[in-house]
């Protein structure tokens, strides 16, 4: 079975919000209708977003580290938001594991948002239905797009390639290898939701260089340098 997901590399995310804006642009222009903004130029703007980039500071100054943290629906493999929905509007697609909301069925009761621990579902203020990341379902399933563009808008927009996309059930996919070999982890594992999206931790790369590597102990030239010359013909004199 396929489980499409994102793997987000916190090591390279620079917090530029390109994924936030590209997500909004793509999904507000689609067939599902706008992601409504209210009072966008006023003092208290608000609107629907599928994706947010948050920033956390770890540690005490000066030993601090800034973590930019993009967050969207994690397309849980055991999504607690789905069984609570009274209408069946929230569902998980059998064929690719994407968790979706049927906007034509949703009654806007908000119950699913209570049942998601990650705070990624948002009730659209004007359409009054629940919205969340669709993994750009209309892009990734669109066979008329060239293969290279059949990816979520955020993945295509990310300038640092912090967002990887693929099938986390295929052990040889780029995302599976990244999770396996680069310490990919799930958020709030204590709830057993088994998020499909994973995060790659921030890493510091150290390289140890010993003095012997800078100066080879058995360098023949260094050995010759130890020779004491007293005016006799050397190898250099006869070769050039």
């Amino acid at each position: 079975m396929t489980q499409l997901a994102l793997v987000i590399d916190l090591n390279v995310c620079v917090g530029c919000h390109a994924c936030v804006t590209s997500c909004k642009q793509w999904n507000t222009s689609g067939w599902a209708g706008p992601m409504v903004d209210e009072n966008p130029y006023g003092a208290d703007p608000t609107g629907t977003f599928f994706n947010r980039v948050q920033t956390f500071e770890v540690g005490h100054y000066p030993a601090t580290e800034t973590v930019h943290f993009p967050k969207s629906c994690l397309h849980c493999e055991d999504p607690p938001c789905v069984p609570v929905c009274p209408t069946g509007a929230s569902y998980k697609r059998e064929d690719n594991g994407v968790v979706l909301v049927d906007y034509d069925k949703c009654i806007g009761c908000k119950y699913c948002s209570w049942a998601c621990p990650y705070g990624v579902r948002e009730l659209d203020a004007q359409q009054k239905v629940m919205k969340k990341c669709t993994l750009c379902i209309d892009r990734i399933t669109d066979q008329t797009l060239p293969e290279s563009e059949r990816k979520p808008a955020c993945v295509l927009a990310c300038p640092t390639n912090a967002r990887l996309y693929g099938d986390v059930h295929d052990p040889d996919s780029e995302v599976s290898i990244a999770i396996r070999e680069r310490g990919g982890y799930a958020l709030m594992p204590e709830w057993g939701t088994r998020p499909a999206n994973h995060y790659l931790p921030r890493r510091k790369t150290y390289m140890h260089v010993s003095p012997e590597e800078l100066q080879r102990a058995d360098n023949p030239l260094t050995k010759e340098d130890l020779t004491v010359y007293t005016g006799e013909e050397t190898l250099d004199d006869v070769t050039w």
Binding site: T46, F56, E57, V84, T87, C106, S113, P117, M188, E190
Partner: protein, 326 residues
């Protein structure tokens, strides 16, 4: 969580409506086995109308909670997995039972269908509707409470206390209302209903206090560490990603000071428990027809505060992600 008025009214109104219906049925059963004097048909019919009114008002309030109330009928479809869906089915069933119960009393269709035992307990249609309606009423209490108790992320709610509280507080207010109704009509059942109301109120005091104590010492499973997956004791949010509000900052926070919440807790602890108990006892001593009405009114207002506090008290793990604007 944000306490929505629609849900506060829904749960308190139908809780009292179910309780009133259960009180009527209890009275009828007691009368059938000749423990108390039988009441007139109008008493049951009027009481049922009152109970039905509360249920309808509660249902009306619930529509204000929905973004798309015109599609509410769809909510009956997922009863296999969703407690909300189950409530949506059981609530109209409850109303139907109350309606039939009241109408049969009103029309006097109370000829015994059969007689149980040698002593002769005559069973008529109203008793059948009453007893099966009582089962539906209990099912509805469970459905309503499980909507909250089944969300494991809301750890303040995910406990059997939630079910006990919805049940006992509903029964308390329903029997209190029955006492008020009996007193208003001048029947002699005030003492009977009042006694049960006091019993349920005291039981509810026990379970509600236990829930408050449990929640005061609750250790949440999630932390900022598990939320972003960084192993460090000091993590602070510098930006939640936007400067103004969003659904996530509105739906999951009550936006009131801790002092306000504490004050409301004191108000509901007084209004729901000691005040109505004292008033109903005083009413019994003075044989007052109006004091039981006051007792119910005080308890109902207290229950509104109780429900507000119930919502405000619950801390959703998503709040970890929305701590700081910038």
């Amino acid at each position: 969580m944000h306490p929505a008025l629609s849900v506060i009214f829904l749960t308190t109104l139908i809780g009292a409506g179910q309780g009133l219906f259960l009180a009527l049925v209890t009275g009828q059963v007691y009368a059938a086995i000749r423990l108390i004097a039988p009441q007139s048909a109008e008493f049951y019919a009027g009481g049922s109308a009152l109970a039905l009114g509360l249920l309808v008002a509660g249902l009306g309030a619930s529509f204000f909670h929905l973004g798309r109330p015109e599609r509410a009928w769809r909510a009956a479809s997922m009863w296999r997995t969703s407690w909300l869906s189950r409530e949506v089915i059981v609530l109209p069933a409850m109303m139907a039972m109350v309606f039939l119960y009241g109408v049969f009393h009103w029309l006097g269709w109370t000829q015994p269908l059969f007689v149980i035992g040698a002593g002769g307990l005559p069973v008529d249609a109203t008793l059948v509707f009453g007893v099966s309606g009582a089962l539906v009423a209990f099912a509805l209490y469970v459905c309503t409470a499980m909507i909250y108790a089944s969300v494991k992320f809301l750890e303040e709610w995910a406990s059997p206390y939630t079910i006990a509280n919805f049940l006992l507080l509903g029964l308390a207010s329903g029997f209190m209302l029955a006492a008020a109704y009996a007193a208003y009509l001048g029947t002699e059942l005030v003492g009977f209903y009042g006694t049960w109301a006091v019993i349920f109120t005291l039981l509810a005091l026990g379970t509600r206090s236990a829930a408050l104590i449990r929640n005061a010492g609750l250790k949440h499973k999630s932390s900022l560490q598990t939320a972003i997956g960084v192993r460090h004791r000091v993590i602070e949010q510098r930006s939640q990603g936007f400067t103004a509000g969003s659904f996530n900052t509105r739906e999951f926070f009550h936006h009131r000071s801790p002092r306000f919440v504490a004050r409301l807790r004191l108000i509901f602890l007084l209004l729901v428990f000691p005040v109505p108990v004292l008033l109903i006892m005083l009413a019994y001593v003075l044989a007052s027809p109006t004091l039981p009405v006051l007792a119910f009114a005080a308890q109902y207002v207290g229950l509104l505060a109780e429900r507000w506090h119930f919502f405000a008290e619950a801390r959703h793990p998503q709040n970890l992600y929305y701590q700081s604007v910038s």
